[in-house]
Structure formats: structure tokens, C-alpha cells
Amino acid sequence: MTLSRRGRAGAVVKGGAFRTVLLLSLAVAFITLGTLLVDVFQRGWPRLDKTLLTGVPSFDPEIAGARPAILASLELMAVVFVLAVPIGIGTAIYLEEYADKTKRYNRLLELNIQNLAAVPSIVYGILGLAFIVRGLGLGRVVLAAGLILTLLVLPTTIIATREALRAVPNSIRQGGYALGATQWQVIWRSVLPAAIPGIATGSILALSRAIGETAPLIMIGALTFVTFDPTLLGPFTALPVQIYAWIGQPQEGFRHLAAAAIVVLLVLLLAMNAFAIWLRNRYQRRY
């Protein structure tokens, strides 16, 4: 008796302690994010102006802007979206709906994709430099960078899409088959629509990762001084690369500029994430 009562009192204390630890972990994340936001806004405030969006890089931080970098980052996003989303969804559908999971090579494939998701981004940069920039002879252009970022986020897209497909209850599929639908019809008309919220969220989070990448872009020769608008097959810089270059400059003014550019990057990220949440809520169905 006494033992069980002590055990109960202990459990209450443990429960309280656990809650406190959880709250503390939450606080660490929030305080870090809050500090970053406050710091970046404070530093960047004087330079959050029109010049930042319309100007081009300059030796004078007062008149320098990030227009070529912002445009190139948007173009990169477009390339990654157009390539990574369909290829990622296609791969995921195959692996989830068609592949025979008892076969050894399919399991190997799965394992590989999961490993690829954890490969450091610089490795993709080296790969891209050898095979896309030099091998394909594409050169150091927006499209090449987009292809590399696509490779980088593909594993994430595939994994997210598979999770979403797996979350669709099997009864939906069986219902379709029972009505005489072919596998293609079941996937296209029942499974995919049901999985869209998850797929959209996963894809946009993958895109968010791509927009913040610096290392592979520097590896393939993203520039720091471009004064003209980027084209798909032309030289380019990107927002994170431009920020990196500005932060290293000796003049104080460039640090304000870099902070302002970070705010722009954060706004782009937040907009994408907000869009993901909106999509999820709009299409979410419960079973």
C-alpha cells in the first residue's frame, strides 16, 4: 500500500518535472527565434527601403540593393518547383503504390532515398559542379543551380509525399477497387486528392529549404556582383549568397544591408509556409 502511494506521489512530481522540461525546450526555440528576429529587424530597419528591392550591388552600401539576387532566388524557386514536385510525387507514388516491398532492390532504393535526405548540401554542390555544370556543359547558370537544388530537395519531397500517401486509409483504395476501378483510377481519383494537403505541405517545406541554401551555390560559382536581371541560362547570384558576401564586408553599412536582406528572405520563407498552411487547411479531409 505505502509503496503504491509513494509511487503515485513520485509520478505526480515526475509529471510536473517533465512538463517543465518540455516548456523549457519550447522556450529555447522561441527565445532563439525571437532574438534573431529582433536583432535582424533592428539592424536592418534603416535599410528596409525601396532601394533594397530595386537597386543592384554597389561598393557604396547606401545605394546597394539586392534586386538581381531576389529575382534569381525566385527563378530558382520556380525551377525547383517545376522539377522537384512532379518528379518527387511520381517517385513516391511508385514506391508507395506500385513497388513490391518484399523485393530486396526496392528496400535498397528506399534506404538510399532516406540516406540522401541526410547528405550535406555541399556534396550536392560538388556533384552538380562535376555532372551538371561541367558534364552537361550547362555552365554556371540559374538552370544548373535549380537542378542542383532540385536534387537536394527531392529526397525530402519524396519522403513527405510517401507519408501523405500512407496516411490515406486503405479503405479508400479498397472501396475504389470494389467498384471496379483500375489501380490508375484509384490513385488518380481517390488517393492523390486525399493526399494533397500533406503533399503540398511537404513540397513547400522542401522549397523553403532550397531557398535558404548557400553552400552548393557558392560551390558551383554563384556570383556576388551581378548588376543585371538574371535569365534562366545566364550568370546569377542568390539571396543567401549575397547576404553572405555582404556580412563579410568591412563597412558597417553592409551589415545593415545584409540584415535587411535577411528580413526579405524571412518574409519570402514565411509567405511560403503560410501558403502551405493555407493549402493544408483548405483541402484537409477527415476520415
Binding site: P57, S58, F59, D60, V79, V82, L83, V85, P86, I87, I89, G90, L136, G137, L138, G139, R140, V141, L143, A144, L147, L192, P193, I196, I218, G221, A222, L223, T224, F225, V226, T227, F228, L233, G234, P235, A245, I247, G248, Q249, P250, Q251, E252, R255
Partner: protein, 317 residues
């Protein structure tokens, strides 16, 4: 669902990528076209400032500047991918060999001077001057010096903390070659960063700190740092524009270079750009916070350009 209709688009984009092989810019004559520069992140802002001014006068010429690092820049340069290579040290033998293998001929232009500056915290009132020997004792591999008293018995009993650039930097290469005596050899238990502003913050926040980086970072942070004179055998010399130009600030004053591919001179825009860079070297150096060339150095650069042009045009006709 409509997203799936994008699939054909992806296929188009992919096939586009396959035939985009000639995307590399190899512009033709006339004062228009694209000039591609890459290399040292120390020299990058100089080339960028030159490009910005040049483009104001020649709006049809596009100049792009990258910062792959001196080594990375030469690697591209010697494959013929760039017209200009920024370098914070002279080209190395193995890089020369690569250039030769690919039949890339080049001219070296001295474009600015720099003084690697040894700095301490402003609260440090004991270190006015350090000899190369003392610096070596501090920085050589395996060094255990962690107190100012070990550097000089006259110094107070104060912890010594070290700040310096990371191993990928040309500044690191130059400092280790001149101070330790062998390039790339340094103790490794110091705070390293590729971003010199991080080093500035580190030294500014620690009473016992010692660090080194390029001269422009001292100029921009006079209130947070104090420079130390360096004795290279002929007495203590403070880093300054004058002592770097005269070479008196020994052994830590260094030249900064732009290497130009000779075959690129056949293109009018490259010739004009280099000419512009030399003629306006002072103004460019000033706007981008570099130590300008002396008159003699500018004359020498002009001579290099003339020789290179004669050679190219002589071959051409």
C-alpha cells in the same frame, strides 16, 4: 490535382537543359559583352567596385564577379572558364602547370596593396610592438603559449586568446608563410572564422585577445581595435597606407593581384576594362577601402598591359 498537369512542363525544361550547352558567355568584339571574374574574396570587392564604375561608363558591358577563393578562382581560370582571376597571393606552381596544360596564357597585374594587421583589444596597454619571432612563438604549430607573460616576461599575467582566419583563406596562407615560415602551418587551437567581422567582434570583446586580418577591417573598426607594430628585423613599424606602399611594413605587407587571360585581350571590352582599372586604380581603391598603388606600381601595371596587348595584337595580325 492541377499540379500534376505540370509534368509535361518539367519534361520541356529538362530537354531545354540538354541543349543549353552554349550558355557560357564568350562574347565577341566591340565594347559590349560579358567579362567573367572570379577568385579571392579579399580582392573581389575591388574588382566589383571597378566593374561598377566601368559599367556606368560602358552600359553595354556586363561584368560579373564571384568569390570562389584564390585557389578556386585559379582552378576555373586555368580551365579557361573565366577572363579574370582575383588573387591575394601569386599563382602557385601547380596552378601554373594546370594553366599550361590547358594552354591558358595570362598576365599578372598588381592592383592594390594590403597590410595584414595584427590587432589587440584597446584595453591592452602593454603590447605596442611584437617581433616576428614572438609572433612565430605564438602561432607555430604545437605552440602552448596561452599567457601574455610567456610572449614577453615584461607583459602582465593575462590570458592570451587568439583569433585568425580559417585555413581556406589566402590571408591565412600569407600569414603562416611569412610568420611561421611554412605556408599553411599554424597552431589550430584558435578561434577561426572565414568572416573577418567575426574576428573583429572577438578581439573587441576580450581583453587578452590577439588576432590578424586585412587592413581595411582595422580602418573600419578603429574604436574597437588597436593595431600592433611589427618588427621584421628593422625596428617596429605600424601598419599604414604609407608603410604598406613602401614595403617598409615587413613582412606582412602583401600585393593583391588580378590575373588576366591573354586571349581575352582580343575582346575589346576586356582590354578596355583592364585599361580602366589601371587608370582609375586610386579612385577604385579608395571607394572599396584598399591601399592604392604607388606611381611606380601604376606605371609598371601600364607597361604589363602594353606588352600583353602588343603580344596579342602581334599574333593576331
Amino acid at each position: 490535382m492541377s499540379k500534376l498537369r505540370l509534368l509535361p512542363l518539367a519534361v520541356v525544361a529538362l530537354s531545354l537543359s540538354a541543349c543549353g550547352g552554349d550558355g557560357d558567355s564568350s562574347g565577341s568584339g566591340g565594347a559590349s559583352g560579358t567579362i567573367v571574374a572570379d577568385g579571392s574574396s579579399t580582392v573581389g570587392p575591388f574588382t566589383s567596385a571597378a566593374a561598377e564604375r566601368f559599367q556606368n561608363e560602358n552600359p553595354d558591358v556586363k561584368v560579373t564577379v564571384g568569390i570562389s577563393g584564390t585557389g578556386g578562382g585559379f582552378e576555373r581560370f586555368c580551365r579557361g572558364e573565366t577572363d579574370l582571376s582575383d588573387a591575394s597571393r601569386p599563382i602557385k606552381d601547380e596552378e601554373k602547370k594546370l594553366c599550361e596544360e590547358n594552354d591558358i596564357q595570362y598576365t599578372e597585374f598588381l592592383v592594390a596593396n594590403d597590410a595584414l594587421t595584427v590587432v589587440v583589444n584597446p584595453d591592452n596597454d602593454w603590447t605596442k610592438c611584437l617581433t616576428v619571432g614572438q609572433l612565430r612563438k605564438i602561432w607555430e604549430p604545437g605552440s602552448k603559449v596561452d599567457n601574455w607573460r610567456e610572449v614577453d616576461p615584461k607583459f602582465p599575467d593575462q590570458r592570451l586568446t587568439l583569433f585568425g582566419p580559417g585555413t581556406d583563406s589566402g590571408t591565412f596562407d600569407y600569414f603562416t608563410a611569412e610568420i611561421v615560415g611554412e605556408e599553411g602551418k599554424s597552431r589550430s587551437d584558435y578561434q577561426a572564422s572565414e568572416n573577418d567581422n567575426v574576428l573583429v567582434q572577438g578581439v573587441a570583446g576580450d581583453n587578452g585577445a590577439l588576432g590578424y586580418f586585412g587592413f581595411s577591417y582595422l580602418e573600419e573598426n578603429q574604436d574597437k581595435l588597436r593595431a600592433v607594430a611589427v618588427d621584421g628585423g628593422n625596428g617596429c613599424v605600424m601598419p599604414s597606407v604609407k608603410s604598406a606602399q613602401s614595403g617598409e611594413y615587413k613582412p606582412l605587407s602583401r600585393p593583391l593581384f588580378v590575373y588576366a587571360k591573354k586571349s581575352s585581350f582580343e575582346r575589346r571590352e576586356v582590354e578596355k576594362f583592364i585599361e580602366y582599372l589601371i587608370d582609375n586604380e586610386r579612385a577604385i581603391a579608395k571607394s572599396a577601402r584598399y591601399i592604392p598603388l604607388t606611381d611606380a606600381q601604376v606605371d609598371e601595371a601600364r607597361r604589363e598591359l602594353r606588352d600583353a596587348l602588343d603580344e596579342v595584337k602581334g599574333e593576331g595580325s
